[in-house]
Amino acid sequence: MALDVAAAAAWMHDFAGVIDENAELLTDLDREIGDADHGFNMDRGMKAVAALDPSAFAKGGDYLKKAGMTLVSTVGGASGPLYGTFFLRVGGAWADDMDAAGLGKALRAGLDGIVQRGKASVGEKTMVDALSPALDAYDAHAGEGVAAALAAAAQACAAGRDATIPLIAHKGRASYLGERSAGHQDPGATSVTMLIEAASRNLA
């Protein structure tokens, strides 16, 4: 299928719906080790993204870049610059006619943007702990097509999310808790898993 504006918009609308349903859960996770705002902030941002008119964009990448700018301007906190940078980079590397390998490259451009902006590496109890193994799994299965690659990515993302539970946070507000951050699931890893699961439902 073409990864056009309609596909990108379907992905964003699905993600916005999941965030809306889980805003309370994400905020509760954030209350335990952060500052109790992740769900509400993401919900505010994704509602603004969902309100964009897809027909105003010629290409999927243009739409996603606008989604990124919208998140930067509406979310605040750390999530705004991180998710915003992700979509700005994904949109910049997006081509409506790309194949599975091309989509993998676009998603990785987004991860690279997150790492650059947030300076986190794997093992520090952040969204990178879910997204990084997800994209490794994607690349390993890219030869089997977009559907198989995204399904593998979603599975690895969820596993990475679950693996954040015992970790001690080294980045973000949870890092101030030191050892007390262990035993809690990272909210950013949780929301990014929702994003990749939505990708697998809509881009395959």
Binding site: R31, F40, S73, L82, G118, I168, R173, Y176, G178
Partner: protein
């Protein structure tokens, strides 16, 4: 949750309308961007000083906008960094031709959003310098954390740096001064209770009647450790000792700041100030100026923080200089 609000979603907006209504002789508010700015901005030939952060810390930052302190303050959602568009709007409002200093508290989100704003301002030809306040000694291991948080020192910094800008100092000078203040200030806080973010509707953490949380920040996040409550004298030790262990203040002149977290009455803050002053006197630290009150709060959290700033003659002169803001006002 019991709060004096109209609607959860309108807390920041409604409060900014109130600030504008109460202090229209000092500030105006850009309601599209939630920016509080001096009514005479941009002040020609003066370095602009802006700050900002999540709301819920009032009077910080909007209450410190006015002559001798900030030119503008960007209000984020409760405990959430403002977005880059807000700081960029503030930069344009206050740039009087000599550049703008961004005062950023060291939180992951604040640093990222201010960075993006500085990039936008640079693209527009506005010269921006940024300083990051990180005075919280509760964060012991900066290597494995996001670094020390910006807390009480921010108030003293904004006063001192604002006075220097008012006297006509240039951007490089003001930025260097800010870094000197940051290098010489340390803070430590504690909570008697958590606080309730309106959108969350429940307290950030719960403490038993005999428990306190030591080493808190200003966002309702739990601290480093939970301890049994003690007397004010004992709690003053818990706060002052880690500060003195971190930076040697003996023989120095300091500005001592006892700050309330929002729900602690002044009668208790003065008890704490007295205990803090006794410890400092015994340690040979000379308190030459002080500030006691609720200046950088955490919504309805009960508790307090202590900040010490080793101040040289220039800092003391700038501390004494006139200031006319909603939160601090003297000398004019």
């Amino acid at each position: 949750m019991k709060k004096l609000i109209n609607a959860v979603d309108d807390v920041v907006k409604d409060s900014l309308f109130g600030v504008e209504a109460a202090h229209s002789d000092i500030v105006a508010v850009d309601h599209d961007n939630n920016v509080v700015y001096r009514i005479d901005a941009p002040v020609a030939n003066k370095v602009g000083i802006i700050s900002g952060g999540g709301s819920g810390h009032e009077p910080l930052h909007g209450g410190f906008v006015g002559l001798g302190m900030l030119d503008a303050a960007c209000a984020g959602e409760i405990f959430t960094s403002p977005v880059p568009d807000q700081m960029f709007a503030a930069d344009k409002l206050v740039d009087g031709g000599r550049g703008v200093l961004h005062i950023v508290k060291n939180y992951t989100g604040d640093v990222m959003n201010f960075d993006m704003a500085a990039e936008m301002a640079a693209a527009e030809g506005i010269r921006v310098e940024s300083v990051v306040v990180d005075d919280d000694v509760a964060v012991q291991d900066s290597l494995y954390t996001a670094g020390r948080r910006g807390v009480g020192l921010t108030v003293l910094l904004e006063k001192i740096v604002g006075a220097a800008a008012e006297e006509g100092k240039d951007l490089d000078y003001v930025a260097d001064l800010a870094k000197r203040v940051i290098a010489n200030g340390r803070s430590m806080g504690m909570a008697l209770s958590g606080c309730t973010v309106p959108a969350a509707g429940k307290p950030s953490f719960e403490l038993a009647d005999d428990e306190i949380e030591v080493g808190i920040g200003i966002h309702g996040e739990p601290g480093r450790e939970r301890r049994q409550i003690g007397t004010a004298a004992e709690i003053a030790q818990m706060l002052v000792r880690p500060i003195l262990d971190d930076l040697d203040y003996r023989g120095s002149e300091v500005i001592a700041f006892v700050n309330g977290m929002g729900a602690t009455p002044l009668i208790e803050l003065y008890i704490m100030y007295n205990e803090v002053a006794k410890i400092l006197q015994a340690e040979g630290v000379r308190v030459v100026r002080n500030l006691v009150g609720n200046y950088i709060t955490s919504l309805d959290m009960a508790g307090c923080s202590v900040t010490l700033l080793r101040a040289d003659d220039e800092m003391l002169h700038l501390w004494d200089a006139p200031v006319v803001t909603a939160g601090l006002r003297w000398g004019k």
